[in-house]
């Protein structure tokens, strides 16, 4: 409703502006009855003085590249360029920090399916120092404070429209694997605030979402060469120039294209050259089998460190890859009756329950916590491995291995004899 009024007001003022500028043209405009059409026409005419304009030098990119943006803006005003992709990804954040006003932990899971896979605000070059200061602060930066300090909050609009759901998590709920009760929809202002926190979860560091690249000429023009990095979502991107709240240009769009072997991981929101993860996975799985393990515990931390992949997607995707090798291993052992079904199933049922709970917990932790705990897991594993290379263990293990071989041989022979 508010928007209709705003457009009506704009349309009216535009009409008056046109009347003042050119009587004949204004009459024609008045005749054009639909208000919306009038508003559009007006935006073009008025732009010279109040509304900024925008134009870009190309409409398609191949896995990133640079785009020259220029246009006009009201003299003396800073110009912000808001860039976002049409492609959306899911982001979630678990809020368990102590609330400063109530002193309680809220335990609320915020989640949206509509976070743009790419989002960045480019601001005037004179903000560079402030931005560099924020980058130096490191991990504890806050999106809302940063945007306010840089004056960029007027340009923040695309992710604010993402509908953020919140779930009240409970201990019991987490155990049985439910996200908790869906709380009522937040109002626009709070939704905007929460979407900023999700921006940080998604993009991690300030230089991913903010850049000081716009050269503003006091006479009323601006230009910028914006760099769209590699590894982003393919599809349509939009740019809009903003000078003040609600004072912005029409959006212009360009297309980002990717070609094989670069592929887009739609769930992770990242494009990457598939050759590298393939080689990495191959190398680690060979090494993993040699040391008598799957290799997932080495692969996962490397994947989250090398590429901007969410830890939830990495954990959820690496796990199924070992499923089939495990199944074939079980099949091979079962052929020679080398599995104790009773023992395996008994402990397996306990693990089934654990496996039910674990994946829920992945989305409750942040990437940094993921890395931290993984660091300790690997240290424990390293000490286990080290212990297996000590002389005492080796001599014991040699006997064990000899017995193992003997039993395996016996088992194979029995199976063969039966088949005959």
């Amino acid at each position: 409703m508010k928007r209709v009024w705003v457009s009506l007001v704009i349309a009216l003022s535009a009409t008056m502006f046109m009347m003042w500028q050119n009587g004949a043209f204004a009459e024609k405009a008045k005749d054009a009855a639909p208000a919306a059409a009038k508003a559009e026409q007006k935006a073009e005419t008025v732009s010279a003085s109040t509304m900024p304009t925008i134009s870009i030098d190309k409409t398609s990119l191949s896995n990133g590249g640079t785009i020259a943006v220029n246009g006009t803006a009201p003299a003396g005003k800073p110009v912000y360029l808001e860039v976002w992709s049409d492609d959306k990804v899911r982001v979630s954040r678990f809020d368990a920090d102590v609330d400063k006003t109530t002193g309680k932990r809220p335990y609320i899971l915020y989640m949206t399916e509509q976070m743009p896979a790419y989002y960045k605000i480019f601001m005037p070059k004179d903000k560079k120092e402030t931005l560099d200061g924020i980058k130096k602060e490191g991990k504890n930066w806050s999106v809302s404070k940063t945007l306010k300090d840089l004056g960029a909050d007027i340009a923040y609009s695309a992710p604010a429209k993402a509908k953020v759901d919140r779930y009240q998590a409970t201990l019991m709920g987490s155990i049985i694997g439910s996200r908790g009760d869906l709380l009522p929809q937040m109002d626009e202002k709070e939704n905007r605030q929460r979407s900023m926190q999700l921006i940080k979860v998604r993009f991690r560091s300030p230089d991913k979402v903010l850049g000081a690249d716009v050269e503003v000429d006091p006479a009323g023009t601006y230009r910028a060469v914006i760099n769209i990095r590699e590894g982003l979502a393919p599809g349509k991107y939009s740019i809009v120039a903003v000078v003040d709240k609600g004072v912005q240009s029409q959006p212009v769009s360009f297309e980002n294209k990717i070609v094989f072997p670069v592929m887009y991981l739609s769930n992770a929101g990242t494009s990457l050259n598939i050759v590298w993860p393939f080689i990495l996975c191959l190398g680690i799985s060979i090494f993993g089998v040699l040391m008598g393990a799957g290799g997932g515990f080495i692969l996962n931390p490397i994947l989250v460190s090398l590429w901007p992949l969410p830890h939830t997607v990495v954990a959820g995707t690496v796990m199924p890859t070992v499923l089939f090798s495990q199944a074939s291993g079980i099949y091979n052992y079962s052929k020679i009756k080398f599995i104790s079904w009773k023992l395996g199933t008994a402990i397996g049922l306990a693990m089934l329950v654990g496996g039910f709970i674990g994946p829920k917990l992945t989305e409750l932790i942040t990437l940094d916590q993921f890395k931290f705990v993984f660091g300790w897991i690997l240290l424990i594993l390293a000490s286990l491995m080290f212990w297996q290379t000590t002389p005492g263990y080796i001599s014991k293990n040699k006997k064990e291995q000899a017995i193992l071989k003997e039993f395996k041989k016996k088992a194979e022979e029995t199976t063969k004899a039966k088949e005959k």
Partner: protein
């Protein structure tokens, strides 16, 4: 619980086994790895079972965890098909290549390299280097 395996009977402390398995399953499904390198020591050292009983049975137990973990991750939307299709062939191929190499390298050397690699990686993850 008493388990009979190839003519021998073993007394198994099933409560300890299940509790350990349960905890390993939570951590491994949460972080997305198999859990084999933890499960084998649990059964072999924690429960004092011989290797020939442990190898096959621990694999079976882990399979339960991986299967459930996979389903749950899929349910929570953590599964990316493209990513899976990149890694899956690599993992299978690795499973074929590794046994060919295994005959030529000493497992002791592999383990020592692994220890060094794991320590470096964990220090990196903990932000210490």
């Amino acid at each position: 619980m008493i388990v009979e395996f190839w003519g021998h009977e073993f007394k198994v402390n099933i409560i300890l086994g299940c509790l350990g398995g349960f905890l390993i399953a939570i951590v491994s499904s949460m972080f997305g790895f198999g859990g084999g390198p933890f499960m084998t020591p649990l059964l072999a050292v924690g429960l004092g079972l011989p290797m020939y009983l442990v190898v096959g049975s621990s694999l079976l137990a882990i399979f339960f965890n991986t299967l459930m973990g996979t389903m749950r991750h899929y349910q929570f939307g953590n599964f990316d098909l493209t990513f899976f299709l990149i890694m899956f062939p690599a993992a299978i191929l690795g499973g074929f290549i590794a046994p060919q190499i295994a005959k030529r390298v000493s497992p002791l050397v592999v383990k020592r390299v692994a220890v060094a690699g794991l320590v470096i990686l964990s220090l990196n993850l903990l932000g210490l280097y």
